[in-house]
């Protein structure tokens, strides 16, 4: 389990009220056994209109493959400052990634969406494999993606 103290530069500066509360959120992403190489994944937040707001996590170390995570790549403009310290290994077929982050309370029930882009070498790229609104009620409910993600959920 990875535990990261998240500082969402953009989100924080725009939405942070004076006495914000943070809460610990765990994102669990389980992959299908799709049989290829390790998957690259980007977890990121968008607003209601789908506009990129900030990076939560990037699985996969080689930045040359990042352009295949197209929704995230476009939003983040692949600016290293957007994902510094938020990267880890790619995820083997059939395995599960769990990451725990401190998220600002105000991000919940405010129209934000968490999205997951996925890509695998020699296989298809999935923009928004997962697109799930970030709500207090939605916590603990698993959804499946249309690409490599068998189930995705967040808990706190």
């Amino acid at each position: 389990m990875k535990k990261i103290l998240l500082v969402l530069g953009l989100v924080v500066s725009v939405t942070l009220p004076a006495f914000a509360q943070a809460r610990e959120v765990t994102f669990t992403t389980e992959l299908y056994d799709y049989g290829g190489d390790g998957a690259y994944m980007a977890l990121y937040l968008t607003d209601e209109a789908g506009a990129y707001q900030g990076t939560l996590w990037v699985a996969g170390k080689k930045s040359k493959y990042y352009k295949h995570l197209s929704g995230w790549a476009r939003g983040s403009r692949l600016d290293p400052a957007e994902y510094d310290g938020l990267t880890g290994a790619s995820i083997t077929s059939g395995r599960t990634l769990k990451i725990t982050l401190d998220l600002d309370d105000t991000l919940f029930d405010s129209g934000y969406e968490v999205r997951v882009d996925t890509a695998v070498e020699d296989m298809r790229d999935n923009r928004a494999d997962i697109a799930l609104p970030l709500t207090t009620d939605g916590a603990g409910t698993a959804v499946s993606g249309h690409g490599y993600v068998r189930s995705f959920r967040y808990d706190f």
């Binding site: 049989g35 789908g50 930045s63 476009r74 296989m123 298809r124 999935n126 923009r127």
Partner: protein
């Protein structure tokens, strides 16, 4: 020696790992060809990316991505009712060619190939193996060049026998492919682990301004209609719910974006040179999009298991024959020094016999490799050098540093010396290194106890004679016997004979033998069990026969091959000849003891170049064997000389038959005791214009017969070749003039 270690040791260690890499690599080498076979590739200029995308979208409304592989395969990724799918597409019609599913087998093989299914540690192992392969290829290439007698001689026919020759022949065919695979593989692995920088284009940044207008149909987008399908790599469609999104286009020339409303190309960034090079290295390793290269590399990779096995056999043989058993006097105390120059180890056998013989008559003998030459031998009165020659006149492995060390050598007392050279007369520079050593020692002021002696093909008899001479010079009876490979004989039964030439005092017989006891038992065809069996042989190999009461074998060229089921030889009865007399006295059903000695140097060239065969008398034996096997109908000409067409015209009916079915292109005979009184040389002179022309187009000449006849033929051919400014020795050096002379 060092180089050989660097070829052998890592080779052995890595053999298993490399065999895995090679076999999986060979399988992967098929993939580009299979992919290409399944792809529809329209000619350039026929289909644009806009047209393709239009057809695809018509069939797949939920298209997300179109990828064109380098093999020509076009894949569409789409989603339909929330389900993701991928299909192979015929780009001309836009129709599906079936679901796209990367073969699980190839994916597994690929993982086995690059990581032995062990992730990062496995990848590291594969990378190290690739580097080892590179070392083995390079050291092997140098050894190969040295063996052949220089870089230019690499493509000539090869001399030698057994595993060593097989190893060299396979290596020569495969080395370039293996070198390419090993080099690119090492390079990619080094990049993977950050030892070498990796160039990659991150691609252009997303355009700041997108029109956001009403999207046009994809087949009406200007930027896409300007790209030919064959240049396409990837087209990613805009995300359907995002009016600000654009097409992402990657072509062989670079990448950029296309505005869905205006059809304009935005932010196009040409591919960098570094990235082009990077991609080529990858393609040269995988053969992706280069199906023929994939197949070549695959076949080369298949040579690795064969090279591992033959290499291990050579290593084992060398190891066995160089281990020493005889007690060795220290260099400082010995009165006889024996120095050995050996490549394959066979000279050591002779040296040990010499050491034993000298020790038994009371000498203190020190035996060492030539590289171990000391600066002086204080007690020694005799220095004996036994050396082979490597390739085209080079020092063999255990003598490579001898000449350098000799500069510091100081002779004590009145040190005498003798050099004994071992070689094979078929090599252009027979025993050249031995002759150089002999001259160099003389140059050091040493005096010869006896002149340099050269021994052809490990002749035990000559060795024994030399020992006798040495014994006389030393005043001590020296009896040396060393048979390098005591042949394992088989019992052969005379199955039939045809006699010729009695009327012209040249009794010559065609004798056919088969394994004694064979023929009755069908099992013997499948289970060559027990003591009585023969190795496989071909026409041109030699049958060694031990006449009763003689320890020395006589050799006869075989006119048949294993597949013929008989051993056929042609024997002329020599006046007073022990072995030929014995053979001529044999009746069908009687048995002899014999063994096969391979003689792979004496073979006709294969392929369309003409082969000119010249023989006299019983020398027709191997030549008729070659003609029999010429089922490919390559041009073959036979010049043959006998005494009388009525008495010793060997194989007359058979030759007529071969002329008819074109296994033999032309036959010219000469008979010395007929009215024409002609020799085969006369026929050559008659046809000299045609012969010159054939030699000019690359013809090969094979001569088989007695020494005098061979000398006569050579003389005539020199005359014939003169207008071409060629000499027989030039042809010989190119492997185009072969002699089997007795």
């Amino acid at each position: 020696m060092m180089l050989r270690k660097w070829h052998g040791l890592p080779g052995l260690i890595a053999a298993l790992v490399l065999v895995t890499l090679a076999v999986t690599g060979a399988i992967l080498g098929l993939a580009p060809a299979l992919d290409r076979a399944g792809a529809v590739v329209p000619p350039a200029g026929e289909v644009s990316v806009a047209e393709l995308a239009g057809r695809v979208v018509a069939n797949y409304p939920g298209t997300e991505q179109i990828v064109r592989e380098l093999s020509g395969q076009v894949i569409v990724y789409y989603s339909q009712n929330g389900q993701a799918g991928a299909d192979l597409i015929n780009p001309v019609t836009g129709d599906s060619l079936g679901a796209y599913q990367p073969s699980a087998f190839f994916v597994w093989i690929k993982n086995l190939h690059r990581s032995f299914l062990l992730d990062t540690p496995g990848r590291m192992m594969a990378g190290i193996s690739a580097a080892l392969m590179l070392v083995v290829c390079l050291s092997g290439l140098v050894l190969l060049a040295r063996r052949c007698g220089g870089w230019r001689a690499l493509m000539r026919p090869m001399a030698g026998t057994g595993s060593k020759r097989l190893h060299a022949e396979i290596a020569r065919l495969a080395v370039l492919g293996l070198l390419l695979s090993a080099l690119t593989g090492s390079f990619l692995s080094a990049q993977r682990f950050g030892l070498l920088p990796e160039v990659s284009d991150l691609g252009p940044g997303f355009p700041a301004e997108v029109s956001g207008g009403q999207p046009r149909p994809v087949d009406r987008l200007q930027a896409l209609s300007e790209v030919d399908l064959n240049d396409l790599r990837e087209l990613v469609f805009p995300y359907p719910d995002d009016p600000q999104d654009v097409y992402s286009l990657t072509t062989s020339g670079g990448s950029g974006f296309v505005d869905p409303a205006t059809g304009e190309l935005l932010q196009f960034q040409p591919r960098s040179n570094g990235s082009v090079v990077q991609q080529w290295i990858m393609r040269l390793h995988t053969g992706e999009g280069l199906w023929w290269l994939g197949l070549i590399l695959g076949v080369a990779a298949l040579a690795v298991p064969a090279l591992s096995v033959t290499g291990a056999i050579v290593w084992w043989q060398r190891r066995r024959s160089s281990s020493q058993a005889v007690k060795n006097a220290p260099a400082a105390e010995a009165d006889v020094i024996v120095l050995v120059g050996s490549e394959g180890g066979s000279t050591w056998g002779f040296a040990r016999a010499l050491e034993q013989g000298l020790t038994s008559v009371g000498f203190q003998v020190h035996c060492a490799e030539m590289n171990a030459l000391e600066t002086t031998y204080p007690e020694a009165s005799l220095l004996l050098v036994l050396t082979s020659t490597y390739g085209d006149g080079d020092a063999p492995a255990s003598a490579r540093r001898f000449m350098v060390r000799l500069r510091d050598f100081r002779a004590c007392n009145a040190l005498k010396y003798a050099v004994l050279g071992f070689g094979d007369r078929q090599f252009a520079h027979f025993c050249r290194f031995a002759l150089e050593v002999d001259a160099a020692l003389a140059g050091k002021g040493l005096s010869r106890i006896q002149p340099v002696e050269l021994i052809d093909r490990c002749s035990a008899e000559r060795f024994s004679d030399w020992g006798e001479g040495l014994g006389t010079a030393l005043g001590a009876p020296l009896s040396l016997s060393h048979d390098p490979m005591p042949p394992r004989t088989s019992r052969l039964e005379l199955a039939g004979r045809v006699d010729y030439g009695l009327a012209v005092q040249a009794p010559t017989s065609i004798l056919r033998f088969r394994l004694a006891g064979e023929g009755q038992r069908w099992q013997s065809r499948f289970f060559r069990s027990g003591s009585n069996s023969l190795p496989t042989f071909e026409a041109g190999d030699l049958l060694g026969i031990l006449p009763p009461g003689s320890e020395e074998a006589r050799f006869y060229s075989l006119a048949s091959s294993s597949s013929d089921g008989v051993l056929e030889i042609c024997v002329r009865k020599q006046p007073g000849g022990l072995c030929s007399g014995y053979l001529h006295g044999l009746q069908p059903g009687e048995c002899i003891d014999a063994f096969i000695r391979h003689n792979p140097e004496f073979r006709p060239a294969t392929g369309p170049v003409p082969v000119i065969m010249i023989g006299a008398g019983a020398g027709i034996g191997p030549l008729i064997g070659f003609i029999r096997k010429n089922t490919a109908r390559n041009p073959m000409y036979l010049y043959w000389g006998g005494r009388s067409p009525n008495s010793d015209f060997l194989y007359q009916p058979e030759l007529g038959h071969y002329l008819e079915d074109q296994r033999l292109t032309g036959l010219s005979t000469a008979f010395s005791r007929s009215e024409e009184k002609a020799y085969v040389q006369d026929r050559l002179l008659q046809d000299q214009t045609a012969l010159r022309q054939m030699v000019d187009t690359g013809a090969q000449i094979l001569v088989c017969g007695g020494r005098d006849m061979a000398a006569g033929v050579k003389q005539v051919l020199e005359e014939i070749l003169r207008p071409l400014r060629l000499e027989v020795d030039d042809l010989r050096a190119q492997g185009r003039y072969l002699e089997d002379v007795y």
